[in-house]
Every structure is written in C-alpha cells, then in structure tokens.
Amino acid sequence: MSESSIAIDQKYGVKFLDRTSDNIEVVQVKPDMLVETVTYLKMNKDTQFDVLYSVSGVDKDGCFEVVYHLFSTIFSKNLVLKVIITKNCPDVPSLTGVYSAADWHERETYDLFGINFLNHPNPERLLLPNDWKGHPLRKDYVNDDERLSWNAR
C-alpha cells in the first residue's frame, strides 16, 4: 500500500491496482472481505467515505468486475473499489446493510449483467420487464425475447 495515500489496514487484504486518468485510486478487494472493508472505510475517521454513488459491472474477458465508486464529503476524495469474480459463479455480498443507496444499484447490476448479490432484500429486475430473458449488457448477449416479434412487419 505504499503508493496509496489512503491508509487501509493491512488485515483486509486490499490490493492497490492503479490510478484512473484523473488520478483517482483504484483498489481491488476480495469478495469475502468486501463488507468489512467498506464498513471500515465508512466508519474510520481518517477516511470517512460516506457516499456510495455508483455500483456498476464490467464484462471483461474471462471475468466480471464489479466497480464501486465511493466519495467522502468531509475530505472531498474519490475512491474506486473493484471486485473481480468469475463468470461461472458471479456472487458478491451485498452492501445494502452499509449504504442504503446500494439497493437499486445492485438490482440494476443484476438486471443487466446477472451478477448475484447475496443477502439483497429484494433481488428483482429493475429496468427491464420481469419476464425478460437474459442479461443485456453481457458481451455475448443475443436478443431472443418474444417481444421482438413486434418489430417484424
């Protein structure tokens, strides 16, 4: 953690990845330590990341990345957390206990990518109709919903 300016306790096993183009730090967290790490980041008075403003997924070659964007209103600092999971078993613990804002963001990520958030209070589709098949933002998505017949003349 020598390159990071945010002091995260070594016991959380956090790995520093690199910086984005605007000099925001990107840090990788293991899925099973996610909830503890985020609680530490929220409560610790040196970091105090009290706003989770985005949860998104990225479909990379061979793995899924779940990207969390945190912001601290006290210090005006940004932080990006990444959790890398496999495509066979896309399970990540849910952060709804820590931030209420994570509720809909995680539902949307499930809707568009198929990533399961464990212990989520309401894991339903958010943006697409409830009986939609498939997860559109995956790179190998093929649209074969029956409503496509409306587009045929």
Binding site: T20, S21, S56, H69, T73, S76, A101, H105, L126, P136
Partner: protein, 399 residues
Amino acid sequence: MSKLKENIIQKDMLINVGPQHPSTHGVLRLIINLEGEIIRDTKPVIGYLHRGKEKLAESRSYTQYLPMVDRVDYLSGFFYQAAFCYAVESITGLKVPRRAEYIRLITMELNRIASHLLWLGSFLLDLGATSPLFYVFREREDILKLLEELTGQRMMYNYYTFGGVKKEIPEGWIAKVLGLCKGMPKYFDEYEAIITKNPILLERTKGIGVMTPELGVDYAVTGPNIRASGVNYDLRKSNMYSVYSEIDFNTCLEESGDSYDRYVVRIAEMRESVKIIEKALAQLPGGIPEKLRVKRVNCGCKKEECQYCGFDTQLTGKKINPAVFKPPVGESVVSIEAPRGIATCYVVSDGTNKPYRVKWRTPSYSSVQILPELIKNRPYSDLMPIFGSLDVVLPEVDR
C-alpha cells in the same frame, strides 16, 4: 410481500399511480399501499423508458455516440456532454483551450437556468397553479433562442467535441446574453412576488418531506436536494472542474430540508448562475469574436503564448479525426454538477475506436430511490409537493 397480502385483506387499498399521469416528470409507476388517506408503503417501478444507452455505446464510435449523450437528460444536455467529453479527454490526454472552457461554462450555466425554470413551472403545475408555467416558458424561450443561434438546436445541442467546442460564437451573441442577464433578476422578482409568500404554497410545502442530512447522504442524494438539508456538497466548489476556480460565486444552502427549502435553493441558484455568466463573459479569453478575428489578423505571430493567436484562444485543442480517434487503454471517472445533482460518467476504453463500457450515474436515480422514505405515513395529498420538489426526470433514471 406477505405483509402486503395481509394488509389487503384487512382495510388497506393498493392503488396504482400508473405510468401515464398528468404530471410532467415522465413515466414512473408508483404502487402505493394506502390506509384511508395515509400512505403506508410505496414501491416505485421504473424502466418504462429504458432504451439501453449503455449498450448502444459499445457499438458506436466515440464521436458517433456524442449525439446520444444529450438524450440521457434532455433538460441538461450540455452537462452530460461535458461529462462524457471530460472523461474521454482525460483518457486521451487532450488539453482544452481556455476559451473553449469558458464557452462550455457559459453554456452550462445557461442550461442550468433553463432547467430550473422548467422545474419551477412543472412543480407549480403539479400543485395546481397553472399560470407560473406560462411565465416560465416566456423566459425559457428566450434562452432557447440564444442557444439555438449558437448551436442550431433548441434542446439537443451536440455542441461539445473532444478537445473543445465545435463552432465559434456568432456575432452579436454576447451582447444578447448580457442583455438577457440584465433582465433576468427582474423576472425572478416577478416570480417570487406571486409564489414565495403564497399562503397555499406555504401550507403545502413547509415542513413537508423533510430529508435529514444523514438520510440524504446515505441514499447518495446530491445537488440542490441535499444542499437544502444543509450539507455543503457542491462539486463546482470542491472539485473545481472546468474553469470554476477562476470565478467567484456563493453556494446556496438552506437548513431544514423540506420541500419549501428545495424551492428556495433553486431560485437562489438561478440568481447565482446569472452572476456567473456575467463574470465569465467579462473574463472570456479573446473577448468578442469580431475583435478577436481582427486582432489575430493584425498580430499574425502564431506563437503559443500570444494573447490573440495562442493556444488559449482556440476553440479546440487538437482537431481529432473521428474516423481514427482511438484513445489508449484506460478508464476514467468524471463527475459534473448537473442541475439535479451529480452526474458521473465512467468510461472504460480498450484501445479501439469504440468504448468498451460507458456507465452513467444520474442524480434522479437517488431521488426516486429516496421517495418511499419521504412519503411514509403522510397523507396522499403530500405526494405531489414532495415528488415535485425533488426534481426528477425519468429518462435519466432509466437511461
């Protein structure tokens, strides 16, 4: 869900404020559990306008995606274009000349005024007052005429490009903007005279829909909604993107966080925006375009630091060729203070001419998410003051 079932059998009523309703916010569906007239539980259903903007980015090149960015939130098109342009410029390392930054700032603030004006009209229309809508559209048409002269379009501008802006300011435009800025505070006083001390408005919005700072920050509510609760969270001051560091203005804060304060904050923000535009026009590098052209011809030195021919008075930094524009591998997160809150664009690039992933985080998403908390245990007639004061635009939520 089983709690809902047992409530139905007793005495509660499940009503559906359907996707089509007379308010102007868009297609939102609320399934409300009513006991008499008190709202017990709400479930918002969104997705009626989900067009798949994030997936569409992956099959279009960067410049082909720019016109679609305006339509994410059509009332603040400049802000979303700015977010996308800043993100891509940051990955590529393009520098933006200061004249272009000032033009971007002026157009963004004009757009902020237009968006707040429309919010005011539709908020009061929801409460039942129909005349402010006509007052408000009179001013909005003036602003849209100016922007149409500049960009060619009334609402979906498509004016920014990677590295700057596309066209020079037309002749006489700056004088017209200054004339508008001089007349605006008088119009705001006109609105305030009929709205601010109106007893019906005070009864319906004071103390209604109180959002405590902790609740707002927990749900990631940003923008005027959280500033009305007292949290000083304004990206124009803390992050200072663009050239906001060179312009002096006040952040508008209120304390109690009810619907009335959200109204007061937005009126104050409109007045601040007018002052920002006047100051920015006074400091525009290069000044009026006619004089700049003459001075450039007279000077003719073509040096970088020259006041008239240098880099800072150009419109775009480096003219990019859209056919071969390929940013390097990387990712970037840019946040912009849009009229409704903080809009974030997260761009992942993999070295080809099409983006790999574009993610939009929009401010109305959090506002709709916090709505069930704010209207719990309130009478049904409080739904519209609370929902209207949160300033939600549904295409932003669904993308």
